[in-house]
Symmetry: C2
Subunit: 442 residues, 2 copies
């Protein structure tokens, strides 16, 4: 008999079905056995009654995580046993036969148990099967799908950025180095150079892929390998075009999540982000004045925002604009990368922005320098050797339109959208200074 | 005035438009200047007449790859000047004003010129702008989009596989090593272990991303970094389920290409792949008998196919089944990785396959061992230390369904679909033993 997915069982009340999946929980009451069965689509309770002798015999042997194929009669539950609002809360399987597809060893603890992060990470191939993590990564895959869908609709072309690079776009301190046939190569910290080059080809491009930071500290915010979602677009007026595109992108992603992941948000007790029609946008200097006025701290001489400042600004945006998002523009050019475009009307400051969301920065973006001579000069001003960047510079030598873009960390937005405490919970197989799958010290 | 994309110009005959883009070609006839303008959507011819003095002045200064904003009157071409079958072959722009957005230096050669591969690679930020390469990478992005669309429809969940790994899935000879906080890490050669682990979570998964092979030879087939398209699915009958899924996937991709990339295939003089209703599937031993009978070479004692054998088998499939594809199954288990599933009814041979297409192998796939004890034993038989794989083995310890999957190289199928001579032409920024962007010897 063809397999019925557990989510579809209630359509078959009164009929027989074959369900395949894992034993989630087993309760042996001697004369009969209750089994919670689990497949990718959900769970259902099954009961093995005394009259099905062979099935009962198997049911008494099976253990959590054994994989079985069950044929069963789908019964409506008696009124008093119906669980409202639970998938399959109104049906129950009466098991006719059980076939063991694969056995499992004793599990270390019940799936979904509260365990500390290290235990969770040690046992990921098991713990990822819990409803919490399945929900997190369902949300993550939906964000990624929506990111691509939106940009394709907006005329962007996807491209593959290399991760093995010869020179380092963002400075060398945080780069992983490797031996490459007698030379030193690096792992890319971002696809920045390549996406700019590709603007010369396709005008609007995006790329998604792993990037690397040799972070020497293991915190709840940092990862040594993460998934960067990047886009870059040509023929812009200035950085405000990027802000507008990101706002529309976020609106699309949130609407996709509302459509496809309501159950997951509920299960994780998460709240959909508030993105009002007008998201606040202000210069760093204005933001610093607000911090002074509203929160009493004078940080107006600082070139950047501290984590506490980011939290305050988000509090301010939420209170005054009912927005979980706030764009801060015009950071000092001295603190930004060499490709940053300086505002001609506000010398010393960048036509760029950070996007803050629920207390932390989730995007850095802006307009880039598109003029060859200016870019070379900017490199020199930063003490960089422009010859090292000659490959990248070709794009500008041969005509580049005004352009800009941004990068988003997939794991970071997943964890912030869902209100997770540690970014590692939103990373399928996180790497940090202490761990690649197993602890490195073992 | 809002920008009009070049592909849409013919809808505006009789009106004024603003076009933004690159100067593709400029022909100065003294009294008037002809300009071919290019944007991401196509090309159009523009003429600057003597009566538009200011525009003529600018037109005499601009050079190829300068970026301009042009306002112009869209005119129908006189009957005798219409170019049939060419986009905008029936219209011409009469330029009213030209604004220079960005200048460019003298280009090394006209875009689209035939140059040798090394010159092309040295100048990628420029040469990728040519129609040939734009078409290749448009096709590539369409293949990738169709791959994801199809699998999502089939209930697969996307996940992010890490590329920084502690132990090496496929054996160490071809692995890049890097220093990782006092330990040695490797770059992943495939997402194999992680996609199998994720079958325990989502049953059906796919992932796309860069993988690495420390290939020491620079050939027309090999890359040191490429994009691997992988899927893995649980609750299968055997490897034939994977063959069926791949056939449907390819059918979907080819139909997407026919819908979205007909112009690109024409421009590249490429032929859409022939995928008949019944793609031939045969065991290696049968294939070897065919080679003996049809092509006169006895390779029946060999454990694998040589390149010439692959070409012959494709020739045979094309002639007898009008198929560009042929699946070869049941390679000797001794030549396959430790996770390969042995056919109980054909001991010594794998429930796995290679897919050959137009003379080369484009996929390796099959069923995997899902039983913990069998997998440990298989590792030991291959002389591997199972403790090294203890992280991966947890998935099997805690219950795994019968499963299998496959991997496809995006650059390889792009180049084979399009009949390109060298895989580097289908790789945006190829890395080989001699080159990361620039030649390493420079």
């Amino acid at each position: 008999m063809a397999r019925t997915y557990i989510k579809d069982i209630s359509k078959s009340v009164g009929s027989e079905v074959t369900v395949k999946g894992w034993i989630d929980v087993r309760r042996d009451q001697g004369k009969m056995v209750f089994l919670d069965l689990r497949d990718v689509t959900g769970k259902v309770q099954a009961v093995v009654l005394p009259n099905h002798v062979e099935a009962l015999d198997v049911a008494q042997k099976v253990r959590p995580e054994w994989i079985v194929s069950v044929t069963a009669q789908v019964n409506k539950r008696p009124e008093r046993n119906i669980k409202e609002g639970v998938i399959n809360g109104d049906v129950e399987l009466e098991v006719l036969t059980i076939e063991v597809i694969a056995e499992a060893q004793d599990v270390p603890f019940e799936l979904g148990s509260e365990v500390n992060l290290d235990t969770h990470l040690d046992l990921l191939p098991y713990t990822l099967r819990g409803e919490k993590y399945k929900s997190i990564f369902k949300v993550q895959s939906t964000i990624l799908k929506a990111f691509r869908e939106f940009l394709i609709t907006e005329g962007f072309t996807e491209f593959q950025a290399p991760k093995l690079i010869g020179e380092d776009a963002e400075g060398g301190a945080n780069s992983f180095d490797l031996e490459y046939f007698g030379h030193t190569a690096h792992l890319a910290q971002s696809p920045q150079f390549y996406k700019q080059i590709m603007v010369g080809v396709f005008e609007r491009v995006f790329t998604t892929g792993n990037v690397y930071r040799a972070e020497k500290h293991a915190t709840s915010r940092h990862l040594n390998e993460y998934t960067s979602l990047d886009f870059e677009m040509g023929f812009i007026k200035d950085h405000t075009d990027i802000i507008e595109m990101e706002t529309s992108l976020l609106r699309y992603i949130i609407s996709a999540l509302k459509k496809e992941c309501t159950r997951e948000f509920e299960l994780l007790n998460a709240t959909f982000p508030e993105l009002p029609e007008n998201v606040p946008v202000m210069k760093l200097r204005e933001a610093q004045q607000i911090i002074k006025k509203e929160f009493g701290e004078d940080c107006s001489q600082e070139p950047d925002l501290e984590p506490q400042h980011e939290r305050w600004l988000c509090e301010y945006a939420k209170k005054n604009f009912n927005s979980d998002f706030i764009f801060i523009t015009h950071f000092p050019i001295s603190k930004r990368p060499m490709y940053t475009y300086e505002d001609e009307n506000d010398i010393g400051y960048a036509k760029g922005f950070d996007l803050l969301f629920r207390g932390v920065e989730i995007t850095t973006g802006g307009q880039r320098i598109h003029n060859y001579e200016k870019l070379v000069k900017s490199m020199e001003n930063k003490g960089l050797n422009s010859n090292q960047f000659r490959y990248y510079l070709q794009a500008f030598k041969y005509g580049m339109p005004p352009h800009g873009g941004l990068g988003l960390g997939l794991e970071r937005i997943t964890s912030k959208f869902l209100g997770l405490e540690n970014i590692k919970e939103a990373t399928m197989f996180p790497r940090d200074i202490n761990r690649i799958d197993n602890l490195l010290s073992q």
